[in-house]
C-alpha cells in the first residue's frame, strides 16, 4: 500500500488533480515544503528575503548568459 500511495502522489506531480492540489497547497502553506538544493544554497548565505530574491535573479541571469 505504501508504494501505491507514493506512486499516486508522484503521478499527481504530473497530472495535477485540482482537488489534491488544493489540499497539498493548504498543507504546505502551514508546514512548508522540502527545500531544493538551490534554496538551501541561498539559505546558507543567511541573507534577507530581498537579498535571496536578488541572488536568485543573478543566478538566473548568469544561466541565461551561458
Amino acid at each position: 500500500m505504501m508504494a501505491s500511495l507514493k506512486d499516486l502522489f508522484d503521478y499527481q506531480k504530473f497530472a495535477g488533480n485540482s482537488r489534491l492540489e488544493a489540499m497539498i497547497k493548504d498543507t504546505e502553506s502551514r508546514y512548508g515544503s522540502k527545500l531544493s538544493i538551490d534554496d538551501l544554497e541561498l539559505v546558507s548565505a543567511a541573507g534577507t528575503p530581498e537579498q535571496i530574491q536578488q541572488q536568485k535573479e543573478m543566478l538566473k541571469n548568469k544561466k541565461d548568459h551561458v
Binding site: S4, L20, M23, D38, K60
Partner: protein
C-alpha cells in the same frame, strides 16, 4: 485503436504537465527544460505506433517522463535526490494510475482528520521523513508514527489498492 490525437495537440496539452513534473524533481530550470525536450523526442519517435487501447496517452507520457527522470539521476549517480526504490524502470502503472485514481485519493484524503491528512501529504508528496514532520507539527516522533499508521489504516478502508 490507434492514436487519434495529433502530435501538436499532445504537445500543447502535455508539455505543461511534463514541465510541472520536471520542476518537482529537478532544481535546475535549464536541465528541466532539456529533459522535457528529451521526453517529447521519445514520444514523437513512438507516436505513430502508440495504441490507445493498451494504455491511456496520459499514463504513457507520464511513464516516459518518469523514466527519463530516473535515467537522468542514474547517469549522474545522484540517488539521494530520488529514492533507491524509485530506480526501477517499468510500465506497470498502465491502467492503475489515471485521473480516476487521483479522484479516489482526493475523496479519501478529504475524509481524514486534518492532522492525518497533513502527515500523509508531507510524507508521500513532499518527501519529508516522519522525523522531519514531527517537530514541524509539534509532535513527538513516536506520536507522529502512530498518527501516520492510523491515517494509513483509514486510507485502506476508503480506497481500493491492488
Amino acid at each position: 485503436m490507434k492514436n487519434t490525437q495529433t502530435y501538436e495537440e499532445v504537445y500543447r496539452v502535455y508539455y505543461p504537465k511534463v514541465m510541472g513534473y520536471m520542476h518537482s524533481k529537478i532544481s535546475s530550470s535549464y536541465e528541466a527544460e532539456d529533459l522535457a525536450s528529451t521526453v517529447f523526442i521519445k514520444i514523437f519517435e513512438k507516436f505513430e505506433t502508440f495504441d490507445q487501447s493498451k494504455a491511456s496517452i496520459s499514463t504513457w507520457i507520464y511513464t516516459v517522463t518518469r523514466n527519463t527522470v530516473i535515467d537522468y539521476f542514474r547517469v549522474r549517480k545522484v540517488h539521494e535526490e530520488i529514492g533507491e526504490e524509485d530506480i526501477v524502470e517499468d510500465d506497470t502503472y498502465q491502467g492503475i494510475l489515471d485521473a480516476e485514481s487521483l479522484e479516489e485519493l482526493a475523496d479519501a484524503l478529504e475524509k481524514l482528520p486534518q492532522r492525518e491528512r497533513d502527515i500523509i501529504i508531507l510524507h508521500y508528496y513532499s518527501g519529508m521523513q516522519l522525523k522531519e514532520i514531527a517537530p514541524k507539527m509539534n509532535m513527538s516522533y513516536s506520536n507522529c508514527k502512530l498518527v501516520h499508521n492510523k491515517a494509513l489504516m483509514r486510507l485502506r478502508q476508503y480506497m481500493t489498492f491492488d
